[in-house]
């Protein structure tokens, strides 16, 4: 039977909320709930707290598992209407609940986390009681994990909005309760935001609100349910990148004035030796083939979206074989600039335009893999930092191209 809310202890107010969004997470939600409960007890014992599961009306028993877990912290289950899916929709329900509860601080963690500890709750939550409005996670990730973050989300948001937030789509984060109202009232909500665009949307809005942001070091790598990158990439890529481009349109007056970038405060060290992330295998040949085939099948779109010079350079890259393959960072920056402008000007059907960027992104990923294959995690981080500086140095070009096309 569908229930929009189950609130067994009739909780009507809370100072601190730990929220866990879900869809069919019956087999995994128990662990993060237990860790959250321990985190709340150990570090926020003096604050009135609640654990909220915001769900997409899962049909695998997520609700029953969540409500059945024995915790010292009270729990509330909320759900979207039957058939209404999307991570962002879960968050919309959550924002309203936070406003209703008048919560001061909210920590969100993924339902399929296997590496979460009670200290994650501490590190994501504590800064919110010390003047910080938004807390982004800082994990040690394998150099081939999170390539959308490494190639697009991090360098673009950093150069656009001037804040160095390494994991802007991390999935585990904290925000002050006051921000929930800002999110509810924002006129930038979209279908992409209602799905996987939600994380980058929340981070970007926080940056544009000039909310003090810090990053919390989690100490452990993020280990969660393994996903097949091939099957997941399309919708997630479209929703994340589409949201970034949408926000560029909306917040142009802000980002066009930003020069270079600022670091953030770091919380959460002192966790002992940092655990290294598990290796991520990458099939270079598959990336190469997908780049080649995608370039061929999307050539007509690329020719419309990209400036002639950029398209020609991309054709030169296409001619390289796997062993010599090199996708220059400046070319990647030019591709993203042209796609952002093309998206704004609707030069092609939105979904097809975003899909045509995927093979180019896979080519860029292949180049990154080749350049960093002998590097340690730290060295590859420095490589990404250098790329970010190139993004920032190209900001004036972005502003110029953006204004020219407007």
């Amino acid at each position: 039977m569908f229930e929009a809310e189950v609130n067994p202890e009739d909780i009507t107010s809370a100072e601190f909320v730990v929220a866990i969004p879900s869809y069919n997470e019956a087999d995994s939600i128990a662990f993060p709930v237990q860790q959250a409960d321990r985190g709340i007890e150990s570090f926020f014992g003096n604050r009135k707290s609640v654990i909220i599961n915001c769900d997409n009306d899962s049909d695998d028993g997520t609700k029953e598992i969540f409500l059945g877990i024995r915790t010292n912290t009270p729990k509330i289950y909320i759900s979207t209407e039957p058939g209404m899916k999307g991570k962002g929709r879960n968050f919309k329900n959550l924002f309203q609940k936070i406003v209703d509860l008048e919560a001061k601080a909210v920590v969100v963690v993924d339902a399929d986390l296997k590496s979460i500890t009670p200290k994650w709750i501490k590190h994501l939550g504590e800064p919110l009681f010390q003047d910080f409005g938004y807390v982004a996670p800082l994990y040690v990730r394998h150099k081939y994990d999170g390539t959308i973050t490494n190639s697009i989300a991090y360098p673009l948001t950093r150069s656009l909005y001037g804040r160095r937030v390494r994991q802007p789509i991390g999935g585990d984060f904290g925000f002050q309760g006051e921000l929930a109202q800002v999110y509810l009232e924002s006129d930038t909500w979209s279908e992409a935001v209602a799905n996987f665009g939600i994380d980058i949307w929340m981070t970007t809005l926080a940056m544009n609100e000039n909310v003090p942001i810090c990053q919390a070091f989690m100490g452990r790598p993020k280990i969660h349910r393994a996903k097949d990158p091939g099957s997941d990439l399309g919708p997630m890529f479209r929703q994340v990148v589409g949201t970034i481009f949408e926000m560029m349109i909306k917040f142009c007056p802000f980002w066009s004035q930003v020069k270079w970038s600022k670091p953030t405060s770091i919380f959460g060290f002192g966790l002992g030796e940092t655990e290294m992330p598990p290796p991520v295998k990458v099939n270079k040949e598959t990336l190469f083939q997908k780049f080649q085939h995608g370039f061929k099948s999307c050539g007509h779109i690329l020719e419309n979206v990209l400036q002639k010079e950029t398209f020609n350079k991309l054709r030169e890259v296409k001619k390289m074989d796997t062993d010599r393959f090199d996708f220059p960072t400046n070319l990647w920056i030019n591709v993203l600039i042209d796609f952002a402008v093309g998206y704004r000007d609707k030069v092609w059907k939105e979904d097809e335009l975003l899909d045509s960027l995927i093979p180019i992104y896979l080519g860029k990923t292949l180049s990154y893999v080749r350049k960093t294959e002998r590097m340690s995690v730290r060295e590859s981080e420095e490589f990404i930092e250098e790329e970010c500086v190139q993004f920032e140095a190209s900001k004036s070009l972005l502003v110029q191209v953006w204004n020219k096309g407007a």
């Binding site: 800082l138 001037g162 390494r166 930003v258 600022k262 670091p263 770091i266």
Partner: protein, 122 residues
Amino acid sequence: MAKILVVDDEEHIRLLYSEELSEAGYEVITAADGHKLIERIETEKPDLVVLDIKMVDYNGLDLLQEIRNKFYDMPVILCTAYDTFKEDIKSIAADFYVIKSFDLTELKKKIATALETHIPSS
């Protein structure tokens, strides 16, 4: 004229940075350690801090964290003789870092960029 606070426990470094950065058009003030650094920043209001990582009695990365928590957007450039400090996660709270050298070209470049950085208020 931008005011730069140089924090370093080596006197010859403080002298070198003072001379060169003054010649480059900056007002330079110095501190030999991290003692009452936050108070000093509060009263002297520098536009940027150049901070040595390894001082005899102070860890520059801890000082960086103190500065960052108190002065959210204060530009801080870390100076070090070795780049092993990057293994410490706290180092990413710095705007930039430079490897110590008698040639201050890189430092001056980073100072200029850090002072040029701009994020408008919403």
